[in-house]
């Protein structure tokens, strides 16, 4: 029995990693397909798609839209979410319970309902769907994730550090910017990365609030039926590689910190 347990976990775990990575390998391999628009079957190896990733119409345009929206929504959601996270942990606040509900409820609401309710709101306000409405939608659903991530970090922070700073005659502002903020920064950066990834990859909420405005996920969804151009595979692969690098750098930094702390 013990042997089964010993091998079961590596076998299932290993198979699961293959399950997780096979589609990504497929995307990568087919980014080299000499298939033109018909990228469903292997037609031969080419580097053209990587050398000219904007070769297919509308691919890069939609990519730029998604990147812009991702950055703007992330900056706003991170700023607002961090404010709420710090405020909720560190300050007494009258509508605390209500605020908690307002933070948790978007996480417990499926995307299709968030999208539909925002659409109902925009229809009622008579706003034209497009860039602005997408950014608003993304800020709303990214904010809850930012708050949850940053709040965990604030809660684990020792408030005596700030009190010590105050004892040493630091103004509240100085104590915040010199002590609290640097300690929170890793959490805030993690929250911002998560927020960007979610915004960049979102399809359902965007689809409800974008009108005819094209984003990268929308572009792929629309072209799925008649074949996704290999240039989209190039972009998907490139994003994966960039993400790998970002995560690896993050790991290296935290590993070094750990080592420094151990040596100290």
């Amino acid at each position: 029995m013990k042997n089964i347990g010993r091998w079961l976990i590596p076998i299932i775990g290993g198979a699961a990693f293959i399950y997780l990575l096979v589609p990504i390998a497929y995307i990568f391999v087919f980014s080299f397909n000499d298939g033109g628009r018909a990228n469903l079957q292997w037609q031969g190896f080419t580097l053209d798609n990587w050398l000219n990733p904007c070769g297919a119409p509308a691919v890069c345009e939609s990519l730029v839209h998604s990147l812009q929206i991702g950055v703007v929504a992330t900056v706003i959601a991170t700023a607002l979410g961090t404010g709420i996270a710090i405020g909720l942990v560190r300050y007494k606040f009258r509508f605390r319970k209500l605020t908690d509900v307002l933070i948790i409820l978007p996480l417990a609401t499926p995307e299709v309902v968030l999208g539909a309710s925002l659409l109902a709101q925009f229809l009622n306000l008579g706003w034209e769907l497009g860039y602005t409405t997408i950014v608003i939608a993304h800020v709303v659903f990214c904010m809850s994730f930012v708050i949850v991530t940053v709040r965990a970090r604030v809660s684990s922070l020792d408030s005596r550090l700030e009190e010590a700073a105050a004892d040493l005659y630091a103004s509240p502002q100085a104590a915040f910017w010199k002590i609290t903020f640097p300690l929170l920064l890793p959490g805030i950066v993690a929250a911002a990365l998560l927020s960007f990834a979610m915004s960049f990859d979102d399809f359902i909420i965007t689809n409800f609030n974008s009108g005819s405005f094209q984003t990268f996920p929308k572009f792929i969804y629309v072209s799925a039926t008649r074949g996704i151009p290999p240039q989209a595979n190039v972009i998907g692969s490139a994003m994966f590689i960039v993400a790998l690098l970002v995560v690896i750098i993050g790991q290296v930094i935290s590993y070094r910190r750990k080592k420094q702390l151990e040596n100290a």
Partner: protein, 300 residues
């Protein structure tokens, strides 16, 4: 310690502190109120709108038409039930696959930092390659002429004229695939703090590995499992990308697809809003029951 002992300066400082709190919280709270709370109310109102006689497509007036709910429920209860059913299977599968994955990375590879780091990176990175691109790739992998379908036919698990795509199997496999990291990461975070000495202790006390697992590992990882199941089930129940790309026929339609087409193809705003509201409330009820039942320390 009592209030009277505090000086005026201290009270003033306390007040200032409170004001800072309000400055920090208000902007975000305003956004959440205007673009989350209010829209849900508007959605509820819209679900009761009436189509006046002789109105054009997409023309509705405010009203209180409760029968909208009965109409959409009687028409789409199979899709609604299927969404919960598919999401439930996907969540259970993700747990069965994801727990060993998390355990492997968090506990078994604890001493082997490099391999642990690599696998953790591979767990997070799929988040950044496009979700729809991966689903589309998954569809092509499962396609009739693909390797998997051909192999299954070769070993006669799949009949010669059988398909993998456009089946409930493909949709559930897609849902499981897409939400697997949402299951693994919370469990990983939880198991990362598991003290393996407890397992040694239970082995010393003659517990079998299975007993150790059910009495020690599982209860200690309960919060991670709890978070993971919610993070998988909720988005899976509302998802329609998997059912649209990997299924897209009558046996696989999920409620999200219906809501989308009621909004954009049929232009039935009240019906679509009513369905959205039903979906939201059902999930909230299910989640509440789940939290009541399992959300305590004595989970399991």
């Amino acid at each position: 310690m009592s209030v009277e002992l505090r000086s005026k300066d201290e009270i003033r400082a306390e007040k200032r502190k409170n004001r800072t709190g309000i400055y920090l919280i208000s902007p975000g709270l305003l956004v959440l109120t205007l673009f989350f709370a209010l829209p849900v109310v508007v959605l509820l109102a819209m679900s009761l709108y009436v189509k006046p006689p002789g109105a054009e497509i997409g023309e509705f007036v405010p009203g209180f038409e409760l029968s909208n709910y009965a109409t959409v429920l009687s028409a789409y209860w199979p899709e609604l039930l299927r969404s919960f059913w598919f999401a439930l299977i996907a969540t259970v599968l993700a747990l069965l696959i994801g727990f060993p994955m998390a355990y492997l990375v968090a506990v078994r590879l604890r001493e082997r930092t490099l391999l642990q780091g690599i696998l953790l990176v591979l767990l997070i990175a799929p988040f950044f390659s496009s979700f729809i691109l991966r689903t589309q790739a998954w569809k092509q992998i499962l396609a009739d002429e693909g390797f998997i379908a051909q192999s299954l036919k070769f070993i006669a698990i799949l009949p010669p004229d059988g398909h993998l795509t456009a089946t409930p199997f493909a949709v559930v496999a897609g849902l499981t695939y897409n939400f697997l990291p949402f299951m693994v990461l919370p469990i990983y975070a939880n198991l990362g703090r598991l003290d393996t000495r407890l397992l040694e202790a239970s082995a010393d006390l003659y517990a079998s590995p299975i007993t150790s697992f059910t009495k020690v590992t599982l209860p200690l990882s309960a919060p991670g499992i709890f978070a993971g199941t919610l993070l998988t089930f909720i988005p899976a129940a509302g998802d329609y990308v998997n059912s649209a790309l990997l299924g897209n026929n009558r046996d696989t339609t999920m409620i999200g697809q219906v809501i989308d087409s009621r909004f954009f193809k049929v232009i039935d705003y009240p019906g679509a809003s009513a369905l959205s509201f039903i979906l939201m409330i059902s999930i909230l009820i299910l989640v509440t029951i789940y939290i009541r039942r399992f959300g305590t320390k004595e989970l399991m």
